[in-house]
């Protein structure tokens, strides 16, 4: 299973560098690791290789769509947040009152129009000066003279 078991000692290999007192230590560790490897068998090479060779195979490939979907969601969320935030700033400036409300129905639209009308300074201005300056035009009708104007009590009542 291990490389050590499969190979004879080769010149320049790790075992050549071992001193006498290291050999026991190396043997002990080797036995422990070999025991570990014996207890755990890997999937066969052909099995793993065919999995990664298949379109969509392999761990990374299997998760790639999920990562892509996640990234797309993050981008969309960021875009939405940015746009919403920008609208909010404009509202705070008060420069685009019309674009702020965007009423969803007729009632909301009517309320907005009324609010806009009521908030206009013209709506609340009292035209005192114009009223004072108003002069009635002279009356051009011919009225009967008061001297000859004699109306009986009965006529006045009718």
């Amino acid at each position: 299973m291990s490389g050590h078991e499969n190979r004879s000692a080769q010149p320049g290999s790790g075992s050549d560098e071992l001193r006498g007192d290291d050999r026991d230590l190396a043997a002990a560790l080797r036995a422990a690791l070999a025991s570990r490897d014996r207890s755990v068998r890997s999937a066969r090479f052909a099995e793993l290789w065919s999995q990664v060779g298949r379109p969509g195979g392999g761990f990374a490939s299997r998760w790639r769509p999920a990562f892509a979907a996640g990234a797309l969601l993050v981008v969309l969320a960021g875009l939405t947040w940015t746009l919403t935030d920008r609208t909010g700033h404009r509202d705070a400036d008060g420069s685009t009152v019309a674009s702020r409300a965007q009423p969803a129905n007729e009632k909301a639209r009517a309320d907005l129009a009324l609010a806009r009308e009521l908030s206009s300074p013209d709506y609340w201005r009292v035209p005192t000066d114009e009223l004072l300056a108003f002069a009635a035009p002279p009356l051009s009708a011919d009225l009967p003279s008061a001297r000859g104007f004699d109306v009986s009590l009965e006529e006045s009542l009718l």
Partner: protein, 177 residues
């Protein structure tokens, strides 16, 4: 998928068991992780992302690719998640689950002692001892697999040996007393 022309499939197949064993070491004895690492390695080879330039032996190069995959950031994040899940499930901390290959070694008392001492070593020391003692690689090649300088590998090797010997001796004394 691109073809990696310098790699002979039959040779790859012959090295499969050794590769799995090394992947097991790099995955701290977790079989599923080792198989996934090996699968990612094969996929990288198949897609031509991992290119064998024949500057070292195929085995050395494969071990290096396997180790890189095992130690990638994503793997570490996943390992952290697995650890959290493991802690959340209140499972015994000795890793006696069916997936923990090193836990199964505990049937053999001597092997168990050595494995425990080996597992307690820092990662680099553990890896270099595995490569030199078990896989019979010269220190220079082990350094190549680990992506470190030969001098550094030698330091890890000497320190690992000393620590392993110390640990085994301490364990023996504790048992005798």
């Amino acid at each position: 998928m691109r073809h990696n022309p310098l790699i002979d499939l039959r040779e790859l197949e012959q090295l499969h068991d050794q590769c799995f064993s090394w992947a097991l070491t790099c995955s701290r004895g977790r079989r599923n992780e080792a198989e996934e690492v090996l699968q990612m390695t094969y996929l990288a080879i198949l897609e031509g992302r991992a290119r064998f330039a024949a500057t070292s032996s195929l085995r050395t190069w494969l071990f290096a690719v396997i180790r890189n995959h095992a130690r990638s950031r994503w793997r570490r994040a996943r390992h952290a998640l697995a650890t959290l899940v493991h802690l959340a499930s209140f499972a015994p901390a000795d890793g006696s689950g069916t997936d923990d290959a090193e836990g199964q070694v505990q049937r053999d008392e001597q092997s168990r002692r050595v494995m425990n001492a080996w597992r307690a070593l820092p990662v680099r020391q553990r890896e270099v001892l595995d490569l030199v003692f078990y896989r019979d690689l010269p220190i220079a090649e082990a350094a190549q697999v680990l992506g470190i300088a030969v001098g550094t590998a030698r330091v890890h090797y000497e320190r690992g040996k000393a620590a392993l010997r110390r640990s085994l001796r301490a364990g023996r004394i504790a048992e005798e007393s």
